[in-house]
Symmetry: C2
Subunit: 670 residues, 2 copies
């Protein structure tokens, strides 16, 4: 690419009077200069060995996997003291509870109550999305938040069921067991999945495998969340339209066909009217809340108000006898034990483990992203590994007490933050409030219309779709946007798992693509400096006549790009020296290796072949500023001996000085 535009380079070289002077001076390279260059080459060649294979690759993992030494724990301490200092690291509540003040509790009480008023309707709705009975949503808002508040390190994170994980459970578990024909097995499988989700999360935290969460790139999450939001929204059409027979598939096309069929046969417009009116009510309160920050509680309690109002309307008008679908069965009381429902000898164990792994990663991704963004606002650190352990234990405990997978909810965390929560006590307040509601109010929920739950879920979805971030991704990185779009359309038109797989595949393909056909850049001297930069990036830079300075635009010189690099260099030389009007034919090539962090066997072979071919044409090859691994491998592979120790330079500038100062006369001189 650079070779096809030599005009600006030669033009700038001609306009600039600095270069000829410089190169003239360098022709009289003093013996002192020469000694200095040799001295520096020695630095390059006599560097200690870099960390070997186990240190380089496993070391960084070990660093991440095993805890660093805890300085507070020394073996000289008595076991009890040791235990006492160990406890607060597992239960951060022991640290902050001592400093807890009444003024803080005021804030936490207020935010906890606000949270509960939003949490109760959302939990019931998400349980319906997960194809579970409504009480399971409330159960999930009791035990996990209590456990999390003792073990978690985030102060704002609102724990409970969330939309995306509910969709995941519904989509993946219902493929294994049909929730309508066999609800008992379905529940059992859901609890087993919850147990494995918790186990995976705890293991990730204990073994510091948090990097697994990084495998879903930011861009993929944006696309996945948006796709999931649309899929969840479409699922709500069932409740909103009062449809009885609905597809179990989640892709757009199946759902739309199913809806179209139902619209021809039987649906109840009353449900739609009721749902839409309350949806509009909730959206208006949200609009007001956004306009006036002090009224933040208005959108937060709007869902609960909608539930109460609509239940009253249905109860008073007995609208359930005229086609309005209501919840009907609602078992109140404390969380029942579900220890016996977690089954390890079921024929679906394999699926349970698989779904558990997917849920664990998605749930952690959402919670960590939400928690971290609010921790950044408040300026404290969230410990990723402790978070994972806390999430893990809360889900394991949840699976024993009739809860399904809980995690940090984005919409509720935002409400918690706006309500001014100070510590995780707001989660405790919320859990207790939900618990009391479960004891006292469940009888009242008999007449709650399903359409209202649908509208509450629908109202929470826009927060999952982030247009502006998607646009930002498109502007910044087209390939990242491809991962984003892949996840989005995969979720929308295929299934949740396929969407995730597409996103991960595109993300990794991106890394490989970058190593596949990198640009080969031509470097030139920035006027008046010793700095050599790409001539395309810095139009002020001018090439050094007679010397081709080349840099590979890739961090790896490996089998995918080694042969093309060799061919590119050799073609470049042939083209340049083949021109009839060449004033200064190329007599030396400097390979700037500063950006090549690693090289493999194929890369070394290609360098050897390049050197051999160039030498046979009387052209000298120099390697400038090689990195640690690269110079080590070049030494081990005896390439340094072949090219000559005096052809390795610390910087491009020294290589140029050496080339221009010494007239290269033919092969064998190197």
């Amino acid at each position: 690419m650079a070779a096809s535009m030599p005009t600006p380079v030669s033009a700038s070289a001609a306009n600039d009077h600095v270069l000829p002077v410089e190169s003239h001076e360098q022709l009289q390279l003093s013996s002192e200069d020469r000694q200095r260059i040799t001295e520096r080459t020695k630095w390059v060649l006599d560097s200690p060995d870099p960390p070997g294979f186990p240190q380089e690759f496993l070391g960084s993992f070990r660093n991440a996997v095993f805890c660093r030494k805890n300085k507070k724990l020394s073996s000289s301490q008595p076991p009890l003291a040791c235990f006492a200092s160990f406890l607060p690291s597992v239960f951060p509540i022991l640290n902050w509870a001592r400093d807890y003040k009444v003024s803080m509790f005021k804030n936490d009480l207020l935010s906890g109550l606000t949270l509960a008023s939003l949490c109760i309707p959302q939990s019931i709705g998400y349980a319906a999305l997960a194809q579970l009975k409504p009480q399971y949503g409330l159960y999930t808002s009791v035990v996990p938040p209590l456990i999390y508040s003792t073990m978690g390190t985030s102060r704002e994170l609102a724990i409970g069921p969330v939309a995306v994980v509910s969709l995941l459970i519904s989509a993946m578990v219902s493929k294994v067991v049909n929730p309508i024909t066999d609800p008992v097995s379905y529940n059992k499988l859901v609890f087993t999945v919850t147990f494995f989700t918790g186990t995976f999360q705890a293991l990730f935290g204990l073994f510091r495998l948090g990097f697994l969460v990084d495998f879903l790139s930011q861009a993929a999450i944006v696309g996945f969340m948006a796709g999931a939001a649309i899929v969840i929204g479409l699922q709500q059409l069932k409740g909103l339209l009062g449809i009885s027979h609905f597809t179990t598939k989640t892709d757009v096309i199946s759902v739309l066909i199913s809806v179209a069929k139902s619209l021809h046969t039987s649906w109840y417009p009353q449900n739609f009217i009721l749902g839409c009116s309350f949806l509009i009510f909730i959206l208006i309160t949200r609009f007001i809340g956004k306009r006036n920050r002090k009224l933040f509680w208005l959108p937060a309690i709007a869902p609960l108000v909608s539930v109460i109002l609509s239940t009253l309307i249905v109860y008073l008008t007995r609208a359930d006898e005229h086609g309005i679908k209501i919840i009907k069965h609602f078992k109140g009381g404390l969380n029942p034990s579900s220890v016996n429902e977690v089954q390890f000898n079921s024929p679906h164990l394999r699926e349970a483990v698989k779904i558990g792994l997917v849920c664990a990663i998605i749930a952690l991704t959402e919670a960590v992203a939400v928690g971290r963004s609010f921790a950044t606002i408040k300026g404290y650190n969230m410990d990723g590994n402790k978070e994972m352990i806390a999430m893990g234990f809360m889900n394991i405990a949840g699976s024993m007490s009739s809860c399904y997978v809980a995690t940090g909810s984005f919409s509720r965390t935002a409400v918690n933050f706006s309500a001014g929560c100070q510590t995780a006590v707001s989660n405790i307040v919320m859990a207790i409030t939900v618990l009391i509601s479960l004891q006292l109010l469940t009888g009242l929920l008999y007449f709650t219309p399903i359409a209202i739950l649908a509208s509450i879920i629908l109202s929470a979805l826009p927060g999952l779709i982030n247009y502006s971030e998607a646009y930002h991704i498109w502007k910044v990185d087209k390939l990242d946007f491809l991962a984003c779009a892949g996840a989005f359309f995969g979720v929308l038109f295929a299934s949740v798992e396929i969407g995730l797989m597409v996103a991960v595949a595109v993300s990794f393909a991106k890394i490989i693509l970058n190593a596949l056909r990198p640009r080969v850049e031509e470097l030139g001297r920035l006027p008046g400096t010793d700095i050599f930069c790409e001539v395309d990036q810095y139009p002020v830079a001018h090439a050094v006549p007679g010397i081709l300075i080349i840099r590979l635009n890739s961090g790896l010189l490996c089998f995918t790009n080694a042969n093309p690099l060799r061919d590119r260099i050799l073609n470049w030389v042939t083209e340049e020296n083949g021109k009839e009007d060449t004033k200064s034919p190329i007599s030396g090539i400097i390979l700037d290796m500063s950006s090549v962090t690693n090289i493999d066997y194929a890369g070394i072979l290609a360098l050897e072949e390049t050197n051999k071919k160039l030498l046979s044409g009387g052209i000298k090859l120099a390697i400038a500023s090689p990195r640690w691994q690269v110079i080590h491998k070049l030494k081990v592979a005896k390439f340094v001996d072949k090219v000559g120790r005096d052809c390795i330079f610390l910087t491009v500038c020294e290589a140029v000085d050496s080339f221009v100062g010494s007239k290269f006369t033919g092969p064998g001189n190197c």
Copy 2:
């Protein structure tokens, strides 16, 4: 890692008197210096836009895929002249045939005859390996070499059937059609596969998709070839031991079990004795040939001598009646047409395409590797794309004339080279010799013992096993060796395809692994210079007190390593500034981006978070020497505006100067 060894750094800083002087001088950074730095920052920020997504990724492919403009072809030329100048580029023989001299023909005749004497027994053996009748091997040594000699650019490459491709065909095609129960369908499928092999090869050449061949790294090929050699050797046990019932699988365990079973029931030791004696004879001649370069023809004709001698022995002693297995059926004459046997409407079309693709890549890999290494020795250029087109057409023509997949053979090319061949005429001589043998001598091959063919194949195998290269790979790059070992053991214990897949998977996993958890390097100033290098690589370098200079050891700052980098930097700062004995707490961080060739959305987010966190701690973040794509994306993402235009520097040195010269007092100053 670097943070855990601050002792040598501070020690060197203390020993060295240069640093304090330098830093003292820099405190009085003149306004001229300041202006110079600002000027250079402008160069960084006002660079033109880099090539966009289509140019960056598709452009490099386009460059590779579409031919560059042929300068000789201008539209003003009459069509006939245009055609006349186009012809030699497709048929290089038209170029070199004009300069062909009688003296060259002498050499080519000799080498062609030597080649034929080696080729005839090898072709028969390889046909047996591919589970085809022996004449097909000879057919394959007639048509493809003739086509190649007109279209190919290599002068030494000996074309014909080779061991590895024969094994591939046998292993993959026999899974679809059983060659023993249904030889007619088997032959048809083999010709169809050959047709697709040729088609793929021609397409690779026409569309310049040669990079697909690069997907098999050198290391993987070494392992694959060694594994294939052992598998081929084991397959020869059938002929060598005279076993009738043999497994169709190729993995070591199946073959050994099959051999063990046969040894219990029925085998004929005479075959083994005969085969081994001639194998020893061939190996001795090779030893002599290696010792005395002038006797290169001795190992070359030894196989043919073995065939003739053993055939005579069997014919004279009628040993075939006493258990010695012989070829028996051998149809002579010209290559019959097989146009009707290439079937596009067969139920196995899909498999044929798949096997064709694998064969195309393996055959090209071998031919290009062999051809290129000899071209390098003789100092001429082999055009990879023309080679692929030539290979493609020779295999398409072959599939029409009863040939199976042909390619460049390593052992025969070496013989051709040693025999002093000058041009591809040696291939023509060989093909004509084989053709004559097919006409005249096939009747004589009736009594040739199969054990001899086995020993001829066995004698060619050691060349495929390259211990020294494997050891070299192990020394240079442990991960490359893993790809090599994966291919080796995959071929050996699973199947040929699995071995290939393992090799490709390991090779690509290597690229991803490199981007996964890169080391974060601390840079320091080399004494008396403006150069900043890694303190671990250059122990003479010393850190600048109060400033942390960091470089990422990866070419990509992407979702896999962005969050860990952020955490690493923030932990580093916390650790350093948390030390009680810190003399100069860190007040600035310089991120040397010189090796980061690309950044993605996650990388930019991580940088933004890092900057926000550091600012809140009163620490300044600077970006030094960003690459073209990186600075462009940082500008588009408005990161440059957030961090401040004066926090972007052309070099690390300027960033240090600016930091040391200006005392940073708090956030907002940047």
